[in-house]
Symmetry: C2
Subunit: 311 residues, 2 copies
């Protein structure tokens, strides 16, 4: 599929539910996922905190897993080495296992398997599919929010000229984007970073308010190569965060490119910001005359790792 | 105190224990801390997973807190707004509260308060003090490891010329450090980033294996400004991580500066890598002819935020 068609397909993914059972006796939740498949868990963890949520993006596995744990494994392909490793471990520990994938090895594991409707997308273009089961199963988003988010994504699909302008400003002077979010959009700042990595093939860095005020602040003011960096902050309606952005900008003498999310709830704003970053990174890829779709190097690396693991 | 004397004082902090009670009925742990005081919790969470550990560096607070929660608040000054906010919340939720500080408002809260021996250090130079109560109370480090870590830190204190060389290579060409760690040293990679921010006043970025192989990899290969970046990776004895570093370096055509930790256990290696980064960032500050101690801008920002919050 053409990459821009993939991007436009995000809104259609909102129609998917993929509801799984959440056993009542569950005391904690562990969600495993890498890269584009890991973002779903990261987003979810900013909207749900009724129980502790641990995110696993590693070979290292937490000891606390037990039959009181809901272990959720997410991999679009279903064949991610680290995620399969976690799934086997969580089964051994007696956790209630949910697997979410479009097929692959993961589909044969799990007390419950959620099969995603399509397997022909890039994992990072299937975030909607991987996120919806989490939000739906825990009753986090309303039908109204789905409807409104669909409209917001459609409007960006129709007109992403502002995203193209943003990309052009980054590309002019070959700047390294620094993306600052704040709860509940920290994971979206990280998502922008990964999209710049994969779609635009450039380095990028994300952090969040208020944590960045305890370290980055010194660098924003005094770093060398300051003019080689491009500072982006997500606009916030939270008075404390708004104030922090303004004060940080003032005392460091730095202009932030403010991305103000549309939408009336945090979920709607989250989808808007997510998609906005999709288009900025896409346009930057085009401006650089590289193929936004191509992640052959990641695939090559996976093969090389695998071949050595087997031998 | 002279900044290099502060750095040399880290080893003395290993003699501090600061043991607090861990009630038996505790089901989960939440640790709050910002910046230099937040690093202690981040390090601890890589060495302890018998129960879910949630790290809080935000105004946003998790709903799951209850009387089954051990809530640990860490602030060197004891006056960090976000951390006090968390502490009040955790008391309201009935959690067992432990506060760790050298004084300040935090010392009047908590079912147990751990008073740190000195209040005249920079928070980021007191990591040992803030980390030891966590490692000691959960029985994570042995007397032998304390002894060996003391020796390792002493040897770096006596000769940090390799750190100065590293700093010089970064400063030559004014490069932006990209620091790659792997479990259980991800938080140390983040620590290096924050030390570059505060001691050297430069931007820096950290990530970890294997997650970075799902996004950064594309950028390491194809990004613009590649020669403006300086790639650092912590050497590992884990076969999988070792392999990933080698393959990533090969397929992206990128040289990583490998920092191989001394020490015979992960705790010892952790302290060695931590201190190594202290000295690299310190020397880079000197090379840039700026004062590594100065974080006046962070203090100014705190005052500005506070004044608006009150009015």
């Amino acid at each position: 599929m053409d990459f821009v068609k993939e991007l436009m397909f995000l809104k259609e993914q909102l129609k998917f539910r993929g509801i799984f059972d959440v056993p009542r006796n569950i005391k904690n939740i562990a969600i495993a996922g890498m890269g584009g498949s890991g973002v779903a868990g990261k987003i979810f963890s900013e909207f749900y905190s009724d129980r502790p949520v641990s995110l696993i993006d590693d070979y290292a596995l937490p000891k606390f897993l037990s039959k009181s744990t809901l272990a959720i494994s997410i991999s679009y392909s279903g064949n991610t080495e680290e995620t399969i490793n976690f799934t086997k471990y969580s089964k051994r520990k007696g956790a209630f296992c949910v697997t979410i994938s479009s097929g692959g090895e993961l589909s044969s594991y799990g007390d419950q398997h959620i099969r995603l409707p399509r397997s022909d997308l890039q994992p990072r273009s299937a975030t909607g599919y991987m996120l919806m089961p989490l939000l739906s199963s825990f009753g986090i988003l309303s039908n109204n929010e789905v409807k409104n988010s669909y409209k917001l994504l459609s409007s960006l699909d129709k007109d992403h000229s502002k995203c193209a302008d943003e990309a052009s400003r980054i590309n002019h002077g070959e700047k390294i984007p620094v993306i600052y979010g704040a709860s509940p959009f920290k994971s979206i700042a990280y998502r922008w970073k990964t999209q710049f990595n994969e779609n635009s093939k450039i380095m990028a860095y994300s952090n969040s308010f208020p944590e960045l005020n305890h370290n980055d602040t010194m660098a924003i003011y005094g770093t060398y190569r300051k003019n080689d960096l491009y500072f982006i902050a997500f606009g916030s309606t939270d008075a404390k965060i708004k104030r922090r952005i303004a004060v940080t900008s003032k005392i460091t003498g730095t202009r932030f490119s403010l991305i103000n999310p549309q939408g009336s709830t945090d979920i709607e704003k989250m989808f808007y910001l997510l998609h906005y970053g999709d288009y900025v990174s896409y346009h930057l890829g085009l401006l650089r005359k590289i193929d936004p779709t191509d992640v052959s190097l990641i695939e090559k690396l996976k093969r090389e790792i695998k071949s050595t693991t087997i031998s």
